[in-house]
């Protein structure tokens, strides 16, 4: 119930989106311009259903790349964060490392990964998504694991708690909000990364190639339909990440007073 209740927050952007689409549609109908690069929303929706079989297959293939890359990146990111915070000496290196990593345009690695894995392999796209997901998850989780009140750690030590008990009882719960902030961020960025990576290579029956093919043969309504499918994929993953966040942290939910 309360999760649905919270989704009411989404009604404002949804209404805004519909309004924009309405104005856009009306503007095109009234001015009736002689170009079709920017198709009317109605044309995009029509194309979405007309080419649904292709769009659906491409979305499934891209979705597979996104989700598998996302899961791998999250797993490696969390493990790396746990390892780094377990071994104190490595801890000081997180922040400078994170700054350096942030400067790398990971998407620019796509052609290199293509060369490694072969131009038609989806592996290179998964690798781009995984690397892109890894760093925000790693950095945020590591921060959450280390930014614990020192009194709370001392309290646990006063109970003669082991390092692992402290990690389990204090560090991990403390890191959850940090982790989910990163997860929500990467869940939508991962879709963008996968599609852009697909522009450079990978399997041909995915959203990236579909957009390119349609755009280069001036079927812009079909290209836009694929873009819409990509947005919906990103939104679904974001929604899923938000739902997981909600389920994983009941104490935050209680504080919002809507339990």
């Amino acid at each position: 119930m309360s999760f649905l209740h919270r989704t009411q927050n989404w009604s404002a952007p949804a209404i805004a989106g519909l309004l924009i689409a309405g104005v856009w549609e009306a503007a095109l109908r009234i001015t009736n311009p002689d170009f079709f690069i920017l198709p009317a929303p109605s044309a995009i929706v029509a194309s979405f259903f007309a080419t649904f079989a292709d769009v659906w297959e491409a979305t499934r293939n891209t979705g597979y790349i996104v989700i598998s890359g996302l899961i791998a990146g999250v797993i490696f990111g969390v493990i790396a964060a746990l390892l780094v915070t377990r071994f104190r000496a490595a801890n000081d290196t997180i922040t400078p490392l994170a700054a350096a990593i942030n400067a790398i345009p990971i998407i620019a690695l796509a052609p290199i990964f293509n060369a490694w894995y072969g131009i038609t392999s989806a592996r290179s796209n998964q690798a781009v998504v995984m690397v892109l997901v890894f760093f925000p998850i790693f950095v945020n989780t590591a921060r959450g694991l280390t930014e614990v009140e020192s009194d709370q750690i001392e309290l646990m030590r006063s109970y003669a708690a082991s390092e692992w008990t402290i990690t389990k009882e204090v560090r991990i719960p403390n890191a959850l909000p940090f982790f989910f902030t990163a997860l929500k961020l990467v869940s939508s960025v991962a879709v963008i990364a996968a599609i852009v990576a697909e522009y450079f290579g990978g399997r041909v029956d995915a959203l990236g190639p579909l957009i390119i093919q349609n755009a280069s043969s001036t079927r812009f309504d079909d290209a836009w339909a694929a873009v819409v499918a990509g947005s919906m994929l990103g939104l679904s993953l974001f929604g899923l990440a938000s739902a997981l966040e909600y389920l994983a942290m009941p104490w935050q939910r209680d504080l919002r007073g809507d339990s």
């Binding site: 009194d151 709370q152 001392e154 030590r157 006063s158 104490w251 209680d254």
Partner: protein, 259 residues
């Protein structure tokens, strides 16, 4: 009768041998008997917290030895012979109030039913019967501090170490909490070592006030407080004022001699 806490010639150097070396404690010798309520008072930075953390074996003394209940401080920590409370309540957001109180019991391997029964008893002791299922963040600062004290007492430690536990509370709550702590201390068999920078608080609570000199922390003088059983009228008692003045003058003279 053997002392509960025996501090013999304890000195503490932070960052020994480095340019930022700090001598926090210098040759502290102090014996605390069972059922005493001893306050440590002194200018800020004089090493009160450091001394408390040495007794708790959360940090090692550079020199000298500490025994708690006849064992080394480290052994007493491992045996969970003391409970601890800090200025920040340090409750865990992800646990309910009752589960916060149960945490040390969980770590000691108590059975679920026993833990729940004890949490209920402790909540009654700090007069928060109704709040077991609440989240810490739903409680006021004073209530949170009461939960922290209940948590420190939940496993009936014979020694309670408190570092300015009421420092963040407003005056009214503070006086109420002082009365409550005295009630708990009288009704349980506990020895208390209490760090504060409030002179009236030290006098009101203690059987003995230890006045420390500025860095490096030394014991300047100690003042016995023979006020018998205290209640709200004690705060108006001329004997109380006389002792407050005595502690104030002792503090003034240590600060003056430090220049």
């Amino acid at each position: 009768m053997s002392s509960r806490v025996e501090v013999a010639g304890v000195s503490k150097l932070f960052n020994a041998g480095r340019p930022n070396e700090v001598q926090a404690l210098s040759h502290i010798t102090l014996a605390i008997e069972a059922n005493e309520f001893v306050s440590l008072i002194g200018p800020s930075g004089c090493g009160k917290s450091t001394l408390l953390r040495c007794i708790a074996a959360l940090t090692d003394a550079t020199e000298g030895s500490i025994t708690v209940a006849g064992k080394s401080a480290e052994q007493a920590r491992v045996d969970q012979d003391y409970g601890m409370a800090f200025q920040k309540a340090g409750l865990f957001d992800w646990r309910t109030v009752a589960k916060n109180i149960e945490l040390p019991l969980e770590l000691m391997g108590w059975k679920k039913a026993d833990r729940a029964r004890r949490a209920t008893e402790m909540l009654r002791l700090v007069q928060l019967d109704e709040f077991g299922d609440h989240r810490p963040a739903e409680l006021s600062g004073g209530m949170q501090q009461r939960v922290a004290i209940a948590r420190a007492l939940s496993f009936e430690p014979s020694l309670l170490l408190m570092d300015e536990p009421f420092g963040a509370l407003d005056e009214m709550t503070r006086e109420h909490m002082q009365a409550e702590l005295l009630r708990i201390w009288r009704s349980t068999d506990t020895t208390v070592v209490f760090v504060t920078h409030s002179i009236p608080e030290a006098v009101f609570l203690s059987t003995r006030v230890i006045v420390m000199s500025p860095r490096p922390g030394r014991i300047a003088t100690e003042i016995r407080v023979d006020l018998g059983d205290r209640d709200d009228d004690t705060r108006q008692d001329p004997a109380f004022f006389k002792l407050v003045t005595e502690v104030r003058e002792a503090l003034r003279s240590v600060e003056d001699s430090a220049g």
